[in-house]
Amino acid sequence: MTVQDRVVGTPSPRVDGRAKVTGIAAYAYDRPVDDPVYAHPLQATIARGRVAAIDDVAAAGVKGVLAVVTHRDAARLADTEDAELSVLQSDEVAFRGQFIGVVLAETPEIARHAAGLVRVEYDEEPHDTELRADRTDLYAPEQVNGGFATDTDEGDVDAAMAAAAVTVDEIYTTPMEHNNPMEPHSTVAIWNPGGGFPEAPRLTLFDSTQSVHSVRSTLARVFGLRPEQVRVVSPYVGGGFGSKGMAHAHNVLAVLAARAVAGRPVKLALTRHQMFSLAGHRTPTIQRVRLGADEAGRMTAVAHEAVEHTSKIKEFAEQTAVGTRMMYAAPNRRTSHRVAALDVPVPSWMRAPGEAPGFFGLEVAMDELAAACGLDPIELRARNDPRSDPESGRPWSGRHLVRCLREGAARFGWEDRPVVPGTRRRGRELVGMGVASSTYPYYRFPGSRAVVAYGGRGRYTVRIGAADIGTGAWTVLTQIAADALGCPLGAVSVEIGDSGLPSATVAGGSSGTTSWGSTIVAACRSFRRVYGDDPPPGAEAGDDMPENPDAERYSMHSFGAQFAEVRVDADTGEIRVPRMLGVFSVGRVINPRTARSQFIGGMTMGLSMALLERSVLDHRTGHVINHDFAEYLIATNADVMDVDAVWLDEEDVHAGPLGARGIGEIGIVGAAAAIANAVHNATGIRVRDLPITPDLLLR
């Protein structure tokens, strides 16, 4: 049964919009607190070895400095199993930029100045940060991110490739990338030695996070507290893109700092430089993609083998090739992931981990296969659209990839695409079009609970510890609750972003709206079941996220088609993208306004990935050398011209009470491939390594 639409499906303006544009919304670091202390971290300037000596006399002597905390005197942690979070517990340095201390002072300027006065000596050991496909120490992780199998092998890819009339066998690479949300990772930590639930929490954190409850449980474990002794508050978040999906080392550092000045709040905001070594990143990938097909373009083999890095201290294996397992109907399929553990910072989630880099390789290879078969790339994809999930054998809950491609082709004017690459000129520019498929799985994570309370006079409050990281969660959850309660939008206040609220899962995996939304629907129904339509003031009822038996019966994925037009300057190789169009099939769209923003935001990030983003790891030092916004290039307004997104009008009846599958990540998937394919169509030059920069297109 689905919810009766009233405000769901309408473009409600953001409920938090006014607070944000007027500057009233208090982000973590903005939180007014009494008598704050400011923290500035000390970071290792070697990539591997030990801290031999720390001379902090000069720093400690600066007026206004309260403490310099290092491994020598930091509080011992109760749980050090997660090495990323085992902050200041030993003299060991595992990557350049790692925290080796923190300076606490009365102002941020004093803290930063004093941090610069600390002299550190090291026993340096040789480090190794370079990912290559020919490394002899590549290993197969037990599983890859998301809990997926590391390798799959169905049929006989080698035999199928040998027998195929048409083949593609190429290497595609994507660089190390950093999430770079606008708001840096910030936290305000208050350690209350006398505190203890329920009077006052022992530890309070005003944080910028995608999940207050996971930060709470992680920090409770690390500091040996019960979760109830910790409160994490994060009402507004200036972007995360996965990098705020879990607690990172700065959270632990802030708490250690707060313990050193117990009672006073400690404010810590990472600088942009620091974010390049301490807040996660996307691994570089080296992908070999092999495709085989008969003369008619019917695929017989698909193999996608990914090589990537992780850090020595903590494994994060990006699921680069997983999306390929269910994408096309080839009987012989193989995927694998091999990982090098290097002396690098800890990689983590970055928007569409797996699919974002993986669909660059796969979808450029598909374009190459289409050319080799003499087929239109859309026709090739249509001929290989599987009727059921090739991997699981399950029926699709709704696979409308071909509809997206055809709809997009009509809207984009695909028939006008030059058939022969490099043949269309407009003045001094070469013009071309490209297409790529997009997909993202339907995730709904268990563990959320919502509570509905009636305050009288028609006013309801819905509480759930969800996170709005700029996505529109405040708004869509209000819409969902209003419809589920059968009352006007203005009658409902949603409370999110506080671990004191009922538990909620992470704003990640494009799962927020479906997980929290279905939980809210369940809570609203429970409320009405108990109290009917005329509840007494003070009435309160809650419920947990309902099971969805269909999740086991169907293969559930969103799909999309990405189109791009490019213009390449024939003299300089400069690339412009005058038009992008995404057509998506995502189940029901709860709010067209915020959904469109998610789609075009993802596509813009894909444009940025295609042409600009690259973290340059200097292997001599082991750190990212282009670590600021002037050097790590992200698309500016001037790069983004006409980016448009539309979606199929549909509902996935198997996707729970909302009929929605999630929209946060699919916009980036395939966007870079569409641009690369358009660049090929414009110039005849096939670029298989991101980013696509002007020098690669010079003649």
Binding site: T45, R112, G116, T572, I625, A630, D639
Partner: protein, 328 residues
């Protein structure tokens, strides 16, 4: 950032005296580069002498051309009607630099004297001869995408980041400098120096010398001029290669030409060899290419920026072609 004193100078002479007598003092203009460097520990002045509010903020017409006050903001200079009319390449160069907010704050002299954006120079955890003489050059053997192909040394391969200065060098701009001993004028092209063995010095200015104005001699044919900046990102990024060009045509023949390159050297690079090669030649693509090749014969790219040589050649040709009648 180390603690520092701040003085707002009342007039240029006071500013010069204040800086000259104190080795750790520096001038503060718009602060768009200096303040970054203070945060990063790249610059550690113990005194800032603020010259941004001195009465040096006017663009004046003189008998020989334009005189631009040192404190004129980049956005104001770009928008000035006489600049737009007489030397469009300067307006375009200014507008291709930085971002709107930065151009509103940055001053003319500050733009000229901004320091390289070599990431190793800006990262105090890596050796850099420009920041710390004798410590070594990290860019050599490192990330060189934005580094020099002309005039570099084994001590330093950094490039000058300004766009404005490239157009001004092409225009034969003259810099007016006030020092403790009085005023002097020197061609902008001579203000800058190649790194050689002393890459810590970007310019020939002595400590305490203050740029007070830039004179732009009237160059009638600069009305037909252009600035072309090739970069990875469409806005707010430094040049891979840029070209400032003015062309004086006599029918189909090049009577005179001004050509300067950005993003290729430790200073804005006046392409003297190319200019010589072109004068008196037909304004054809072949001739433009030969001129570019003449200039770039001395190019010594680094591993990782070899592309800059063909990119510079193509950009010179394209910019000149656009200035011919056919290109219009």
């Amino acid at each position: 950032m180390i603690p520092f004193e701040y003085l707002r100078a009342g007039d240029p002479a006071e500013a010069v005296a204040a800086v000259a007598e104190r080795p750790g003092a520096v001038f503060l203009g718009g602060g768009t580069n200096l303040v970054d460097h203070m945060k990063l520990g790249v610059a550690e002045p113990d005194m800032l002498v603020d010259v941004s509010r001195l009465p040096l903020d006017r663009v004046e017409e003189t008998a020989t051309g334009l005189r631009v006050g040192a404190a004129v903001r980049n956005s104001d200079l770009a928008a000035h009607p006489l600049v737009r009319e007489r030397c469009p390449m300067l307006a375009r160069a200014l507008l291709s630099g930085a971002s709107g907010q930065l151009r509103n704050a940055a001053t003319t002299a500050g733009n000229l004297l901004q320091r390289t954006r070599c990431p190793y120079f800006q990262d105090v955890t890596t050796p850099c001869n420009k920041r710390e003489p004798g410590s070594g050059c990290s860019a050599i053997g490192g990330y060189t995408r934005y580094h020099a192909i002309l005039g570099a040394s084994e001590q330093c391969v950094a490039v000058h980041p300004s766009d404005m200065a490239v157009a001004m060098v092409a225009l034969d701009a003259v810099v007016i400098v006030l020092g403790p001993g009085g005023e002097r004028a020197l061609p902008l092209a001579d203000l800058y120096r190649l790194p050689g063995d002393t890459p810590q010095r970007d310019t020939v200015l002595e400590h305490g010398e203050l740029v007070t104005a830039v004179e732009l001699p009237d160059l009638p044919f600069a009305r037909r001029s252009a600035y072309r900046k090739v970069r990875d990102r469409t806005s707010y990024s430094f040049a891979l290669v840029s070209v400032a060009a003015a062309l004086d045509l006599d029918g189909g023949t090049v009577r005179d030409v001004r050509l300067a390159l950005g993003g290729v050297a430790h200073k804005p690079w006046r392409a003297v060899l190319a200019e010589e090669e072109l004068r008196g030649k037909p304004a054809t693509e072949d001739a433009f290419r030969r001129a570019a090749d003449a200039e770039l014969a001395a190019a010594r790219p680094l591993p990782g920026n070899e592309f800059k040589v063909p990119m510079a050649r193509n950009t010179i040709v394209a910019t000149l072609r656009d200035l011919t009648e056919e290109g219009r």
